[in-house]
Chain length 341, copies 2
Amino acid sequence: MTATVHPLHSAAPGTPAPSLDPLVALIASDMNQVNTVILERMQSEVPLIPELAGHLIAGGGKRMRPMLTLACAKLLGYGGTRQHKLAATVEFIHTATLLHDDVVDGSGMRRGRRTANIIWGNPASVLVGDFLFSRAFELMVEDGSLRVLRILSNASAVIAEGEVAQLTAQRRIETDEERYLAIIGAKTAALFAAACRIAAVVAERDDADEEALDAYGRNLGIAFQLVDDAIDYASDGNTMGKDTGDDFRDGKVTLPVILAYARGDDVQRKFWKDAIEGRRVSDEDLAHANALLEESNAVADTLARARHYGQRAIAALGRFPDGRAKSALIEAAQFAVSRAY
Amino acid sequence: MTATVHPLHSAAPGTPAPSLDPLVALIASDMNQVNTVILERMQSEVPLIPELAGHLIAGGGKRMRPMLTLACAKLLGYGGTRQHKLAATVEFIHTATLLHDDVVDGSGMRRGRRTANIIWGNPASVLVGDFLFSRAFELMVEDGSLRVLRILSNASAVIAEGEVAQLTAQRRIETDEERYLAIIGAKTAALFAAACRIAAVVAERDDADEEALDAYGRNLGIAFQLVDDAIDYASDGNTMGKDTGDDFRDGKVTLPVILAYARGDDVQRKFWKDAIEGRRVSDEDLAHANALLEESNAVADTLARARHYGQRAIAALGRFPDGRAKSALIEAAQFAVSRAY
């Protein structure tokens, strides 16, 4: 194991901003294969299925999770083709959860476009999500690895548990940081972890390699989610393709709110309680919330937490040989925590 | 293959009414094992999951599909215990689809109780459905048969396709009988077929036995669904635990409506078009619809179609040895088509 320190971007402000470009370039030709599988396997005799699924799948997502499967396979020097079908599987599971999430949250915008539930209605989004989820398992069965099936069926159950836990925490200002981290560990990081871990299964590596890739993905997923939560308060709808302030208006208790609430005086805590419980949802309320977040350093500290997980993701790669794949995965973690600036 | 003719109840009106009792008695001790698996495996650290899932799972359903897995395993003389976990799997998949169906349909009552979506809201129903579906796949992975995984992942995809197709057909009076049969073949019969078929996999039988059990389940499923559709117009909410006239008010084009529309004059066809498109939803409209269904023999002929599928289900059992299991499965098919009278 090497102990090289790979600094996150914020620690070295003079260097060029980290980006996903090396990762994208690394797996570009593999991703063409994955896209072919995705397009083929989202087809159905029922035209609404490819229409609705295509809206989201072709809708400009980064394909972060399948990229991770492909890049981890490259990191391990795997020379076969099984990763293509399995990366498509991961993207199908992710797409299914997005479709259901948008129904659950009543979201209207994602990636700068109207959500499927707005265009085709909640029923179609629920059912097409179910279809993609089932299709993901069909693809895994075709691949034939019970170990992959175990990893992804477990991740799917954990994701659903995390989503239900988040629903339970919604509008509850007393949700604390530990509980919040458990929720995002389940609803977001579990699939990142599984996407990386299955590459080790495909490459027939030992448990230690599996665990290391799992740790990379899990920490990266948490970092991504923390930054997303910060961005929801910090950016405007145009840049991120997401409605800013969505979390605020939905009464979601994310880390910025948890930190600001913990640090607030009685008046401020009353404001947060009212806001999270749905009694303060105007644009003025959102502006006041942003001012409180600024004053309490809550967004900045959320990003500091994200950098911590980014560092842990990078550290987990220590056991793997240096090279193009490792560099790209390291830069992806640096990108994850620097994109908010 | 024997060619014994097992008459359906309607053909022999003097005999006692067929019931599910022999089937229930046949598998009673196995079902205790299945219930233990169900109760254990619907648990979660997130309390809302067992609470919501338990409402539906403990809510007085017949457990028809797991009963079929157990009874088919007995029919084949299987002496192991794998069928318990797999029957629980089938029930989890079924419960997940019911939770999502009630969201999709906006249903308020099922089995005489308020639906989960009414009590806990649509978001929780969607997510707990996802959890049960994932848990079903975890159970299959524990069992370890890729063949079972293939059968049930395929059935799940077909079910979702059938549900989307039904959504597309909703409020479209031009849906014809062929299309309708394709929809119920997917959304209902696919899981009946899979529930029976996996018993042959567990008992390590050949393809012909698998196909025969699949055919039994598939035809039984279609018969059940046709009778359900007839009952929606024929019974009252108290007897069935379902809101009568739900299908009518939801603009669902089921076989009774398809037959009445096909046989109606211009005035009647206009009524059906208006009703299905949502412009006639009063109690008077429902009463008028029932009168038209009576006049055109549409409900009676739907039940005649159901008997046809019931006969085919029974015929598919021809290759299996006579005995208690076979008799119970035959009587289940007779029950399926006689319960509307």
